[in-house]
Symmetry: C2
Subunit: 153 residues, 2 copies
DNA sequence: TGCGCCATGTCAGAAGTCTGACATAGAGTC
DNA sequence: GACTCTATGTCAGACTTCTGACATGGCGCA
């Protein structure tokens, strides 16, 4: 194949990208049989844990733009998985909720995704896992630090 | 905004996604003024560290499909940043290299991206950084473990 | 030699996401 | 009240990436 002279794999940034990419690939693999994408699943999981989130809040939680989430929400609403009754409108904000069908759909997906996360953490002690959480939170905070706040997504 | 009853932020998977997303956003922010996307930069950086990589190898290194990398490579070749001389062909494999212009283009981008990574790691000791590398490598290995190998990307 | 098998390069179309833009609603200020 | 500022929902178009497909080249094995 190719010469492995320089080792790119010592960069935390690259490893972070690699890990996130591997996680995403495995999630896609288990979600595909259910006819679901990762963002699709993320949206449902967010709504299950925090009912009534708005389009923009869902977008932030799934790390996409509110425009992308809007496209997805309209499809989910059309499929009867999510409902956004106009009566619930508060100002311009239109809260979304899972339908019964959405909850059923999420149940299988949630189990599948959880098994992927379990596999990812296999071989790590409880201390290592909380260490990983702490380090990731530190990186997130540092990256967001000198931020003007008005950024998409 | 919304009620913060259930805390989604305790999942390592979610934090991983959040950190990768934040890193990508910051990289996009510093690369945009240079007229470069993240994948664009990744491709150049890979070629700088390992000259002669093929299209498929670059794709794996940048975590995209070989089809996506092919689209990008054709654009980069057209822009004179990368060259793939047909004389270098080995079987079906066509090794790619940076042109002088590509090296210049990468120089600025590389510095910008490195500063983002430094900022991300701010406040972490050397031990914590190597701990982060170890944990991320562990997650990657576990995720790839029960893998048939033939997956895109 | 001939065969199956796998990886590669490439094209074409589909799907997902993003950028840009507009109108509107709420909060704060004068 | 009038104003500005910010956040939101939404539409339209462009871009990036993916999936599917095909032909080709190297490799191992009968």
């Amino acid at each position: 194949m190719a010469q492995d002279g320089v080792d790119l794999e010592t960069s935390v940034g690259y490893l972070l990208k690699e890990a996130a990419s591997a996680l995403r690939a495995e999630m896609e693999a288990v979600l595909r049989p259910l006819g679901m994408t990762v963002t699709h699943y993320s949206c449902l999981e967010l709504l299950a844990q925090r009912p009534g989130l708005s389009n923009s809040e869902l977008a932030r939680g799934a790390f996409v733009t509110r425009q992308s989430m809007n496209v997805l929400l309209q499809a989910l609403e059309r499929d009867g998985v999510v409902s956004r009754p106009v009566e619930g409108r508060v100002g311009k904000v239109l809260p979304a909720r899972l339908t019964e069908r959405g909850r059923r759909s999420l149940a299988q997906a949630s189990a599948a995704v959880r098994s992927v996360e379990v596999r990812m953490l296999f071989g790590m002690t409880e201390e290592e896992q909380s260490g990983a959480r702490r380090l990731l939170r530190s990186m997130i905070a540092s990256l967001r630090e000198a931020d003007d706040g008005g950024r998409q997504p």
